[in-house]
Amino acid sequence: MALWHADHDLKGVDAVVLPGGFSYGDYLRCGAIARFAPVMQEITDAAERGMPVLGICNGFQILCEAHLLPGALVRNQSLHFVCRDQGLRVENADTAWTRSFEPKEEIVIPVKNGEGAYTADEQTLDRLEGEGRVVFRYIGSNPNGSRRDIAGISNAAGNVVGLMPHPEHAIDALTGPGTDGLNLFTSLLERAGV
């Protein structure tokens, strides 16, 4: 089910994925305009009521801009866009989007971004770590200079998760490095008891 940015309508869905891409060309700050899309009002309300929301790459940036998640994503340390298969550790396997993973499971999914360096003030970073809200961490090498190797985080309730890497590109060995990304989507089914 595709939602349209300009409609105030979630069409009765049970969860929302904000996908990657380049909303408004990323000409301003990534996600800074899309967060004002009419449908974001409904998404924000639903997220606050506990609806699972996943933001991938540009979707993560939009969730940060919308203050559904803390912190921000800034230009890669290398100053270049980077696309590669990336090792991650699942730091929290209890969120709505990660319960199909084993705790501390190590996975490989592609990362591809130009402005993917997660940043927040020390206090926020400490709080995220302390509350178990760092959901994914880069292992091997950090592709973009994210603070504390953070690849993905959640809100306090665990229903809203954002990450820079692209699990949708690791669902089939034909078109990606493997199938490690599938668990994000099956987590949701598990939660729904499917």
Binding site: S78, C83, T175
Partner: protein, 743 residues
């Protein structure tokens, strides 16, 4: 205002035709066609449409061979002459692909030049009715250690990536080559491939009297006007913005909207004819659509929405502002058309209509500024049969000794991996998204990019582009055939059946008889080889004037081959498989070093390129495809630049698994490892398939020799005869080169 009426009354008004690039006889011809002097708007249109870039006036007489020698092909649905050729890939799917150059703009303004090169080729594919699916880039730069090279490389790579990534198109392959001959003439070629259902194929024509001509997309600005500003300043006072960039500026987000909007319009059946606005902007779109149609066209130029209100009619006609399309729409569909454009936030304006006559008439605030037969602008431009002369230096160079000094194999292999041309290109390709759209089954550094088109059936295509310009420099006829042979082989190595050819012919000045001779040889070689391989040329692009002063680039005819898969799941990758599988070399190795990578390491560019054997290429391709189809191959890699040695090293690095290989009897290690004989590939065969595979090769009388075995017991080491090279050492060597220059 220089209206038609005014032009008729002032026949002797001097016009800056020479500054616009027209020769005196060409200017006279325009006067003869019109029976009066052209208006400034008409002069602008003719000058840009009769330019080499748009009219192919020097290349046309040679390019005819692609049609005349075309092999019979049931796959060809739309041939040369449209925005891009279209081929049938089965199950009702049609695929269109094309390469175009954006060389000069990319030297002046590397980022925007490269970005708009991608944008332009994507719109060509879109205008056939296809959804653009992927891009590739063929890049050639000067010496990597020159400081200006870094300026160009950084801008071009960021531009290709910035535009393609933002559009959401995967970049699935291409070439990055360094040679001093490109120092002040870098080549930036971009390829796009798209797919559609057969019934969605559209062409560029304006038909049906009373139908509307709609311009939609970005607003028109002063960018990309180039030489026409001469005319503008001649005819008008100079109060407007004076310095306008000759290089266009790209806006990939607008292009993304344009793609989605156009596809929705096409699928809703609201478009009668469609054309993208590229080189020569509205001049090209209006004259070509009218020329291809069944009537005339009337355009109200003052209705064109502008980004800069001071633009003159001549400038509006010439503007190459990006992200614009032109469609012919019936009056009944006007409202539905506009509604879809509004949904996508795309500006759309009715700027004209199809008329009964046979004239293209353009009006500016009530005055007629253009009144021409459109065919004379778009299709009946001048044609030149320019003088040809084999360059005097060629024969002595071909006769000079070819043999590089044999050097120790291990050091030679590492030196190759440490050279910019054979090193890892990850520094470039990691800046491109290869995954987006989720249908990339293989991408660089694999032999070809492989895309799934149909998610239900797995039907898909493979595309490779190649050109070793050193071969072409040494012998343009066979060198161009080798470019085709390599792309053909690369496609077959992945398991796809080669189906169609495109090209981007980058050469020096056509006014130099030596360059023109190279060009004619290259085209003849390509046409002859396509006929023999039975795959048609579906389209292409010519870029001349890639030279500074007297020095031209090496002739660089980039050749692209498209192959088809019934199911991409059976693709053959280049990384070798599990332990114990057998490594075979297919094809014959002769001491052939002319234009080779090892000769280049020693600064030698003499002799003849490797011999071309197209029948051998055909049989090799059949074996590679059959091997994929019948599950006899776990890996395959084409042997080209750097020979068998580099092929083995690349397979080992890709796999991260060691192998034990040996030098066959009857050949010295240096020749075996570094000769670049054509029609060869390294393949990996499971033991259970060995007999079946060797029997298949035997039945086809194709040379097939076991040269090794995958062996992780060695550790991560590639053993070749009595030498050993660690995979980590090779990777480190290969990965470090481009960052050492550019990071």
């Amino acid at each position: 205002m220089d209206s038609v009426e005014h032009a008729a009354q002032t026949p002797d008004h001097p016009q800056p035709f020479a500054e616009l690039g027209l020769k005196p006889d060409e200017y006279q011809r325009i006067r003869d066609i019109l029976g009066r002097r052209p208006t400034s708007s008409e002069l602008a249109m003719y000058s840009v449409m009769w330019s080499e870039h748009c009219s192919y006036k020097s290349s046309k007489v040679h390019l005819r061979q692609f049609g005349e020698k075309a092999p019979e092909s049931e796959a060809l649905l739309v041939g040369i002459g449209e925005n891009a050729g279209v081929v049938d890939v089965g199950d009702g799917w049609a695929v269109t692909f094309k390469v175009e150059s954006h060389n000069h703009p990319s030297y002046i303004e590397p980022y925007q030049g490269a970005a708009t090169g991608v944008g332009g080729i994507v719109r060509d594919i879109l205008s056939m009715g296809a959804r653009p699916l992927a891009v590739m880039d063929q890049l050639r730069f000067g010496d990597p250690s020159e400081t200006d090279t870094a300026r160009v490389v950084h801008g071009v790579v960021a531009g290709v990536g910035g535009y393609g990534n933002c559009l959401g198109l995967p970049n699935i392959g291409g070439e990055t080559v360094f040679d001093t001959c490109y120092q002040t003439n870098p080549l930036v070629n971009a390829l796009c491939v798209g797919a559609m259902r057969h019934e969605d194929i559209h062409v560029s024509s304006a038909r049906g009297e009373g139908n509307l001509v709609v311009l939609y997309g970005a607003l028109t600005g002063g960018d990309g006007i180039g030489g026409v500003s001469v005319l503008a300043s001649e005819s008008f006072d100079e109060t407007g913005p004076s310095k306008r960039p000759a290089v266009q500026v790209g806006d990939p987000f607008t292009e993304k909207l344009l793609i989605e909007c156009t596809l929705e319009l096409l699928h809703a059946g609201l478009i009668e004819g469609i054309q993208d606005l590229g080189g020569a902007g509205l001049s090209c779109a209006t004259s070509e659509m009218a020329s291809n149609g069944d009537g005339g066209m009337h355009v109200w130029l003052d209705r064109v929405p502008l980004r800069d209100a001071t633009l003159t009619p001549e400038e509006i006609l010439m503007s190459e502002s990006q992200e614009r399309m032109c469609a012919v729409v019936t009056p009944a569909n006007r409202e539905a058309f506009m509604a879809i454009c509004e949904k996508w936030g795309v500006t759309a304006t009715v700027i004209g209509e199809v008329t009964a006559g046979d004239r293209l008439v353009i009006e500016w605030h009530g005055e007629t500024v253009v009144d021409v037969p459109p065919r004379t602008v778009a299709h009946d431009g001048p044609v030149y049969n320019r003088p040809l002369e084999e360059p005097a230096w060629l024969k002595p160079r071909q006769a000079a000794p070819t043999h590089p000094e044999p050097t120790p194999p291990r050091e030679t292999l590492l030196a190759l991996l440490g050279s910019a041309n054979n090193a890892s290109k990850a520094w470039v390709t990691d800046q491109y998204d290869r995954y987006v759209r989720g249908n990339t089954a293989l991408a660089q550094p694999e032999d070809a990019g492989v895309l799934r088109i149909d998610e239900e059936t797995g039907r898909g295509v493979a595309i490779a582009t190649d050109c070793n310009a050193r071969f072409v420099e040494l012998d343009p006829y066979s060198g161009t055939q080798l470019a085709l042979a390599e792309a053909y082989r690369n496609v077959a190595a992945t398991g796809a059946v080669p189906l169609a050819v495109t090209n981007c012919l980058n050469f020096g000045s056509p006014e130099d008889p030596a360059v023109m001779w190279q060009f004619s040889q290259a085209v003849t070689g390509l046409a002859d080889a396509c006929l023999e391989l039975k795959i048609p040329v579906t389209g292409g692009n010519v870029s001349f004037y890639n030279q500074t002063g007297e020095t031209a680039i090496h002739p660089t005819p980039v050749v692209g081959v498209l192959g088809v898969f019934d199911d991409v799941a059976r693709r053959t990758p280049m990384a070798w498989g599990p332990d114990g599988e057998l490594i075979y070399l297919l094809g014959e190795t002769r001491p052939e070093f002319g234009g080779s990578a090892v000769a280049t390491l020693q600064g030698i560019l003499t002799g003849m390129p490797p011999a071309v054997d197209l029948q051998a290429e055909r049989v090799l391709a059949e074996i590679l495809v059959a091997g994929s189809r019948d599950g006899m191959l776990t890996a395959a890699h084409d042997v080209a630049d750097g020979g068998v040695g580099l092929a083995l090293a690349e397979m080992a690095m890709r796999a991260g698994i060691g192998a034990r290989t040996w030098v066959p009897d009857g050949v010295d290690a240096f020749t075996f490892l570094f000769s670049e004989s054509a029609a060869r590939a390294v393949v990996v065969v499971p033991r259970s398939e060995e007999l079946r595979f060797t029997e298949m090769c035997g039945a086809r009388r194709f040379a097939c020799e076991r040269i090794g075995v995958v062996d992780s017991g060695l550790g991560e080491v590639l053993q070749i005869g009595d030498i050993e090279v660690g995979i980590a050492e090779m990777r480190e060597r290969a990965a470090g080169v481009l960052p050492s220059y550019f990071a």
